[in-house]
Subunit: 388 residues, 4 copies
Amino acid sequence: MNNIDKRKLRMAMVGGGHGAFIGAVHRIAAQIDGQISLCAGAFSQDAQRSIDSGISLFLPEDRCYRSYQELITCEAKKPLDQRIDFIAIVTPNHLHFDIAKMALEHGFHVLSDKPATFNLNQALALKKIIEKTNQLYALSHAYTGYPLVKHAKNLVNENVLGNINKIVVEYSQGWLAPSEDDTSKQASWRLDPKQSGISCCMGDIGVHAANLAEYISGLEITRVCADLAPVVEGRQLDDDGTVLLRFNNGAKGVLMASQISTGEENDLRIRIYGDKASIDWSQLAPNTLWLKINHQSAQMIRTGVGHFSDNVIKAVRTPAGHPEGYLEAFANIYSNFAEQIRAFNKNHTVSNTQFDVPGIDEAIRGMAFIENVVRSNQTESKWSTFTI
Amino acid sequence: MNNIDKRKLRMAMVGGGHGAFIGAVHRIAAQIDGQISLCAGAFSQDAQRSIDSGISLFLPEDRCYRSYQELITCEAKKPLDQRIDFIAIVTPNHLHFDIAKMALEHGFHVLSDKPATFNLNQALALKKIIEKTNQLYALSHAYTGYPLVKHAKNLVNENVLGNINKIVVEYSQGWLAPSEDDTSKQASWRLDPKQSGISCCMGDIGVHAANLAEYISGLEITRVCADLAPVVEGRQLDDDGTVLLRFNNGAKGVLMASQISTGEENDLRIRIYGDKASIDWSQLAPNTLWLKINHQSAQMIRTGVGHFSDNVIKAVRTPAGHPEGYLEAFANIYSNFAEQIRAFNKNHTVSNTQFDVPGIDEAIRGMAFIENVVRSNQTESKWSTFTI
Amino acid sequence: MNNIDKRKLRMAMVGGGHGAFIGAVHRIAAQIDGQISLCAGAFSQDAQRSIDSGISLFLPEDRCYRSYQELITCEAKKPLDQRIDFIAIVTPNHLHFDIAKMALEHGFHVLSDKPATFNLNQALALKKIIEKTNQLYALSHAYTGYPLVKHAKNLVNENVLGNINKIVVEYSQGWLAPSEDDTSKQASWRLDPKQSGISCCMGDIGVHAANLAEYISGLEITRVCADLAPVVEGRQLDDDGTVLLRFNNGAKGVLMASQISTGEENDLRIRIYGDKASIDWSQLAPNTLWLKINHQSAQMIRTGVGHFSDNVIKAVRTPAGHPEGYLEAFANIYSNFAEQIRAFNKNHTVSNTQFDVPGIDEAIRGMAFIENVVRSNQTESKWSTFTI
Amino acid sequence: MNNIDKRKLRMAMVGGGHGAFIGAVHRIAAQIDGQISLCAGAFSQDAQRSIDSGISLFLPEDRCYRSYQELITCEAKKPLDQRIDFIAIVTPNHLHFDIAKMALEHGFHVLSDKPATFNLNQALALKKIIEKTNQLYALSHAYTGYPLVKHAKNLVNENVLGNINKIVVEYSQGWLAPSEDDTSKQASWRLDPKQSGISCCMGDIGVHAANLAEYISGLEITRVCADLAPVVEGRQLDDDGTVLLRFNNGAKGVLMASQISTGEENDLRIRIYGDKASIDWSQLAPNTLWLKINHQSAQMIRTGVGHFSDNVIKAVRTPAGHPEGYLEAFANIYSNFAEQIRAFNKNHTVSNTQFDVPGIDEAIRGMAFIENVVRSNQTESKWSTFTI
């Protein structure tokens, strides 16, 4: 018997071996709420390294696999009451598609680190595979996991802002500033088109900003005017960019992303201006959301203080005044996905939207965003239509 | 064989059943880093409720115990390669001592929620039991788990501040303000001398403030002048208080704690002024530590930005700009304790200090703090000597 | 004819020659709103220096006097349409009383820099002189001039806070920290009992904090428990102190003042907690006033944003978002005093309260505050009754 | 004799009668430092209103003129030891040029409110008049008067930032948001092309942002890509806009200006990113300047704390911790101009740059900025070359 309501969900991880930052984040995020347990893994393309990593994570040796292919094949053969429920993919970008495809086709749900695929075509192909296999697919747009981001979305839905006229979203980092060393592990693959794709800055962080704007506002980008470039000489990919935006309701927007902003940590901030009110949220102070109305005192909405909808309340673990952060936001993606998997077991028609889980549609829009802004950057015309 | 280096440590929990806030916090904190696994529990004084809680946490039914006595007795009989390694105590205060005593005497390490005991005498007695049983004992003074609190302590140790002259520590909350309902579950036991002991505000939060001041400064309180009172009529215990302090190096101090500060969330803040520099840290923005020197620009030290000692670095899980919070700070207590337990297995003489784990000495000073300030509040003399 | 409605008021200044910080502040504050003009002065006890100072301020040489006695005598002999209307006193503290007395007795209104006198007895004597001469007297408690301080007072008056239970007021500076040089001009007279009186820190800044608390709350201090001391060895007067307070409605309070808080600029902050709401204001960000209510988002009240009473509106010169500061707050004392003088000319019974001008009553309470806390500091009893 | 070193400079004002916000600001700014005295004025195009305004400002009736023509003609006939030294122009924009021209040609220096003229051609013509008449001309770009803006410029000059790669400057207001009333006095003329010129938002505030970027960085804008529009239906002029920038060293930039940003006060902020460090300054907290370097704690530079160059020191009137604001920044323009006039009296070749006074060159670049961005907004090409 395999009553998944009576046990933790079983996760396998592909990628995320020793020294990989994002693998550890996924493991924490997955297991923090006691709904999911890491049970297997292929943590590296190097077989020995993969096994060593699994053992150091206290996994049984027979579930530390030498490759993702081995993992998927072996787990698929296990009886239902032992085999894993889903696979988390945390490898470099160019491998995401193949792993997701194989996992889905062997009957495993997938949670993939962002970006979903190497390019838009792969994302579109992946959508077909998901539909055909009828497995679940989640994408780790972790910033949408913050409780006050969800509350901001609620405020938009409840028309507290009125019609939205303007969105300013920015994501600034300094880790690829001219003073930094491009040969560090992180820098070298981010700046390599073979591993990163056609964009560094927009692909890595601009896409988060675009996703956040669309997530909160409920709007879609329809036109772009992009100004991207490698600021540091000799780089093949953009390390900075600004994109003028139009949304499908006519609203104007500005998206700024930069990795050469000396001294900035990880400064993702969004401001949305409506007819009636505006909001302002920054990832560096994620438990504060500003709500501003002309001729009134600004309201400092704080996590846990006041009344919130259920989807916000369940995204918080502690009482007001006990700061939660990035790992908890990330965990909310996993928790919602776990809930979706449990529901799926009863009813195979659950949708990601229903469970507030970013999925293949966000993946496609993200990959399209990257391709559209790179294309716009190459033209001399001001505005390009956003196409998928 | 029981090589605890090759597996997660096994924890049992006493208390923390359905609806108990702090139990969930302990479970997250214990398991977040993948070093500890919840394996058993007696989650409630109500046997059925205990078992239901355990099952909902996906524990095997045979390790969901009907009482802590049953838990300790049964686990103690299990072979070494199955039995739990330590017990986390998260019950109401008045039960802490009995459970800790029984656990220690059956050969289990203990991590206790704060306060350690119901009064100072129990804490002193507990110390003797710990020494006699030679088991490990940790106390969840979670705020000392914040990376920048540890860095602040380092700055003091490295004499960056010079001689310390003044400490201002405050802990403000509004949840027991006059407008609130005293019959809520949290309020009613906090304000009940039978469950809370001789102090509400000082026992609950003042003691955290005192601990933080002594932890960072490395100093000890030697004299107090207390002004405590129930601000809200009809209450038997203090809901607000201020204590003038003297430290063992002659430094002056002020400790303010309040639960009737309308509109405050959980505002723990400490400022330490030395000859050469001062620091300022607030729990509401825990990833920022201010370092100030006369005639120089203040430095905003941020988690992960710049150079830190190893004890700080290992207390952080994510790169700069990815906020960590209360749960991660709490987890650092558990992680250090886990490390201490693993070391203990090799060498039975490890000390809490060595692993930066708050223990019975902090427990004793905390209970003494409560008794000293309550006594001072009752006298008409200004200064009372802090005695243990 | 001397229709003072048709001209600027004429001010003479005593003290404030070259290099005196506070003299320049008074000149700016007096003249910023175009209602007052500096027309004469005795700027120094050194006759030549006084004349040189006046000339550098573009005064006619015949109104640059060699002493305050000469100034008062000569101006008193001038015809009404030429002579000055009031005298601003900005000398060291120990001279305030004699100058004020002579000015009042010669028919001049007085605006005195704080503290009004050298000790409480002088302040009490001064009150009698004021009453006898029926001249106006203003005291420069400049921090009460900030628009949002006035708004805070209004909020209290309108019962937005409910009954006040707790007041925390603090005033921290670092300029007398141990690392500083006591022989600087400012430091040497502040720390000299002959020039400063019986207290340095409490007399200089603690008294501002006490005044601010009483001004906003409308309450009076009735009991004190003081802990004052020179932190830096060798000083004769306190450079740091904390005072526990009781107010006449039973509210508790804490007043902290310090000049040895390394790295602090001029950090005056007040929090007032009522049954229903609390406020929080800091002089370093004077255009922001926080209003907090349990279970609601905190409101960030900003100068010029929203609805304010007339007394607040007229204290602001620019639209929202154009920061005003200390000089404008100071100017509001002068502007209100100018209005009071103009009203006095029509009706000799105007009161300071009516024009929101700090006067002799605030002077007396301030001097009494200093004497009471110094006395309390010398006793071993916890509480002393505040007496005048 | 007319030794202007021995007296205050005499100013006449054109415009700024009852109810005009900016006139009062200029009067305060001019007179705050005791170097300048308002002596005459033509305060309104309505003769009676002009005279009434002058009298209410306590001017002698014979220097309250019925028109600016009368003012200039009459004052020019007065002997040197009585006539005014310069004229401040604070009328609506479309009158600036004619008044400045007539004043200069009658031998008066001019300080004009921003914008200098109605369009670029007038600004270019004005430059010729200034050169021909050899009078001084100042433009009130008040935000460059803030001490920490000057310090930021110094940091750039001292190469603390290294090569500048990116500038983000934004100026957000909410007072023309859709919820506001367009028929208010301020709104109606700002949105009227006959009074405002070809742009509302860019002309009113965008130009301040552009000036600030060029002032601090020492760079010049060379290319623009503008996205302007009236967000609120029915308006003839832009109320919001974003401009992508290139500077003459190749640096990228973004300039955002908006008057429809609901809830924003007057939020002018600039960030400049160099190879070595970055700065961040906001007008809403003008006494704080952030200096950030990768892998170091950010430095919070505060007005008056630490070491500054003389040009910064003389722009500050009070010690650290006493906030100065907009009026003082504005006054610094006047003070520098007063100093320039005094120097001019000795040596007729003084330049604006030498005295840090914005002048005709900034006026020309400002008007060119407006014309360039409006032109760019009308083209379908992405980039337009910035031309004058």
